[in-house]
Symmetry: D2
Subunit: 335 residues, 4 copies
């Protein structure tokens, strides 16, 4: 990766994610009333949500849809020029692109939608309406009081290609990665960032293009435990899929939750600052279970096998997935 690419592309980090849900009222009860997201706006087809640390209109967008899945994944860039430069790059690669006018996505300025070479519906924008900052509105914090929509983990058949795309073409840095053992020694997953945390996006080997989960930063471990306690007592115990435990990768303490539509969100806390470009990526072996869970039981098999389909920006249909190009399950997961 060259500094030239970083400057040209100038992505600041993940901005927001659009999840597809069947019933906005049910989702409001889950995400707003229970988990503690704040509603900035809504209409018949959308809920625009933000977190405690957000100063922008939305970081989680729920869209009414007959199917679950991911509508698009949005990154913020440093200025309007960067959008034009990005359009040129995608056009040069013969990839589908589409402009959204300011306000076409509520609260957002001009935006570029693309289908990236990995098959994902990606959006880039430079401007979004401000919303009141909730960080010191402590009396309004409730539930898990989400701090930030931190990252998206995606599944791709070839994680190495995903790693290369993000690092070489989009100027992301790699904080940690998983590799199969020599002699194969092939990248199985990679954690990639522009904002100074462990990741904005991770690419993992699996059937793809598909989304694995959206990561939501919460303040501390107790907020993760509150997620478990609240969901269990509110009758959503079955939505607690994995955790709580600590990841080896990222050092984060986490719980994976399936929302009422089956979309997977991770409540996540206590990773580390990555702003020093001198930090070397940390390598983990695919078959080291500490990689996924520093302690405690390994993930259930369905954690590997179930995913969120992603829409096409061309026709709005959910996209088919291709089989992974290497072994998708670590050896410590049994059939």
């Amino acid at each position: 990766m060259s500094d030239r690419v970083r400057d040209e592309v100038d992505i600041l980090g993940l901005s927001h994610v659009e999840l597809l849900v069947a019933d906005l009222d049910r989702s409001r009860r889950f995400y707003v009333d229970l988990l503690g997201f704040t509603e900035t706006a809504s209409d018949a087809d959308h809920l625009y949500l933000r977190c405690v640390e957000d100063r922008q209109h939305h970081s989680l967008l729920l869209r009414r849809s007959p199917h679950a899945g991911v509508g698009h994944i949005a990154f913020k860039v440093a200025g309007e020029d960067a959008l034009d430069r990005l359009e040129r790059r995608f056009k040069a690669l013969d990839l589908p692109t589409r402009w959204l006018a300011p306000g076409e996505e509520r609260g957002q300025g001009r935006a570029l939608r693309v289908q990236d070479p990995l098959g994902f519906p990606i959006e880039y924008h430079a401007a979004m309406e401000e919303a009141p900052w909730l960080i010191q509105q402590f009396h309004r914090h409730h539930g898990a009081a989400p701090v930030r929509v931190d990252h998206v983990n995606v599944l791709v058949p070839d994680a190495r290609a995903g790693h290369d795309w993000y690092t070489e073409e989009l100027g992301f840095r790699c904080s940690e990665y998983t590799e199969s053992e020599p002699p194969e020694a092939r990248i199985w997953a990679s954690w990639l960032f522009r904002k100074p945390t462990v990741h904005d996006v991770a690419v993992m080997t699996g059937p793809g293009p598909a989304a694995h989960h959206v990561g939501i930063t919460v303040k501390d471990e107790m907020a993760v435990i509150r997620v478990c306690d609240m969901l269990a007592s509110a009758g959503h115990g079955e939505s607690l899929e994995r955790g709580p435990a600590r990841h080896g990768i990222s050092n984060a303490f986490f719980e994976y939750v399936r929302d009422p539509d089956g979309n997977r969100v991770e409540f996540y806390t206590s990773d580390y600052v990555t702003s020093d470009p001198g930090l070397k990526p940390i390598r983990w072996s695919l078959d080291d279970p500490r990689r996924q869970t520093l302690w405690g039981p390994p993930p259930p098999k369905r954690w590997f096998e179930e995913f969120m389909a992603v829409e096409s920006i061309v026709d709005g249909q959910l996209q088919p997935v291709a089989a992974p190009a290497m072994r998708a399950l670590p050896s410590y997961i049994r059939d």
Copy 2:
């Protein structure tokens, strides 16, 4: 204190406290919406509140009144017989007593009201309606999620007399006490319990009879910090009177709060279990500032000087106070 007294009197611990407030709606916003008490019932003149660990109808009772202060302090006893035995003891001492019929205080069985020799309006009862237990209704916990109304600290002109009354006549044990230095070596304050915590009641030297504060147990230090953060952001910053800090006495982490009427409540956590009768009372010197605050600044002077008047059970009037019989201020509090 003899075991005979403990058995005869058979007080289980503090049951509830009645605070006087001017505006029930304002108090509901403060105690229920903001601080997280749960409303069991209400009428034009009362709010009946309970905490997360309560299984009884109410542990905090707010009564509409033209003046702030304390209506009564209630203890639960082990059975109806104990009430009759208590009535006989108070009558033998020529002290005012009065029976409340079951339901006269909503949700409560037959109750005995007395004016105790220290001048306080005390209630004893054995039975109270059950209310749904909230301990595992985590999705309903909010604000500070109060766990228990733990104790009342009262001011009396002669703390030694207060200590003797509770230990010798009512079977309380002393967990910790403050004494002036020799040669005076006089009890300045005493922490007294029947339930197995540091106190149900503490008697402290000051103008009395008066109530100093009602202690509310919260789950942990973070709940105390949330009280501060929430009250500040909700525009009640001026109600934060002292703390957060750790007491030497009781080891509790605390914040003192003045409610909208000026009544003083303490949010309190992490004292210790006192069920072993072999534990020796811990002595503190009046002029040792670590007694009050193990670290951090000493209390503001008004913490010593301002108090809640208490009603008379005879005429319902707020009672005058008498001057303390010994120095009321430790040497580390400056004029």
Copy 3:
């Protein structure tokens, strides 16, 4: 249970447990250096440990032994007379008893050892040497900073018999219990206490007499998470057997740990106060998984099948176990 029994027997609660370990140095590294117990004393065959809230010489006693297991389980009683009354009761039942002279167990006064009708080696004592209280020696707290040895869970072939023994003959109260479904409706497990917490001892259906685990109270959920993090990073990841999660029964947040000898200890926090005798025992159904884990995965099967043998007070040999009298596995545990 009559009050007469409570008064006659006058047990205050669990005092300490003796665990058998092969290598005291290895155990010191595990329990003292890593987990944060404090060593009061030691000799060639014993480590005497205490917790942050203890004021007594020891609450966990490790004895060098060629086999793992439990040497004895000790309860503290209210006075020397209670020991004599207990001896008479056990002799009347023709059960083995044995006196220990003061100091025969270091730091402890006169003690009565008995083999109880369930087959367990039980000790009763009234006096123990004081040790410096560590509660406000915060700079010495480290690791999990254990607060108290809280309870012992034991396995017995007939949990109903265990429940009856403790409630009818020893004056314990029941806080919660597990029952099989009607028409059987048989007690499968019972949580029993004298000190005012959820339990000093629980009896559970299984091969017995055997000990299932020793429960160690820690301050809060973060201390449980520290146990996991520390054991994993110190190379003891395999000792993390179950958790962290929240129990339905007791409401406690927990992690089960196997010590280097395989003895099972539970790090446990946030149960509730049980001092009000009016609290009704809470019933759980054997086949309700929320009973064991309010959220998260069910226990691994070995959690049910592996146990600690207990010594005989007669010959010091580990005792054989008898098969349970009813189904020992809930229906949600698969083979």
Copy 4:
């Protein structure tokens, strides 16, 4: 501020601070044994300390000296070239500069020392030896387990000049600032960053050049409370100068501590991510007490008046300070 300056200067953030102490053994007991810094290396005149999240040789350097104070403040830059560009800038301004050879400060590559126009001894370096990362060595975390040396707050007679120097000449961004009321409307203090937190350095109005405090990030509020508890119980209660409380500015929860030499360090947690260049600086009024303490008592007066002298890079002498150019005390601090 232009992007050109940011690229040319290319400062990554605060690297380390050198504090002057009289007795290294005493300081080791305070910083390492008690507070939980990790010692990377030491010699007769130096202690090289690092934090849990550091991957570099040291972030806090203690140097034996007859006087307390600050030896130098070091920033890390993105490459060796940046050092040469910085030298040219300082020479162009006729300011003293001096090169340190690699290893002249142990563990550090080539470094440039300068006396900046505000009078501070500043060091710039691009390389430092790696040290083992402690983030997942949980069993070695103890005390406050410091995460990072986060920032230095300095006193200058003219905060506006300080703000301009950092933003216009060194490419820092401003996250928050304090201003006197109109019509004066003059910058009283400014929080300035290159790494994506609230600050690497803050300039505040006062006698200068002088250092006010070094900010140490800890994991969460409980770590700040542990600092208070530990210092109090270890006999350092008098070193707790201010807090714990929450700042309005930065949102951080904090405690100010005076080390055994009187140097002031702040334990600090829960500020926010500032990597989005679109975030607008937040303005606070000088006389709004919520600015300094969102809740709780205002700082003691000595917090404003006492400071750490800073050395000159020219002669190693402590530098004299000049009086502030505007009112140094907010109106809510009384004489």
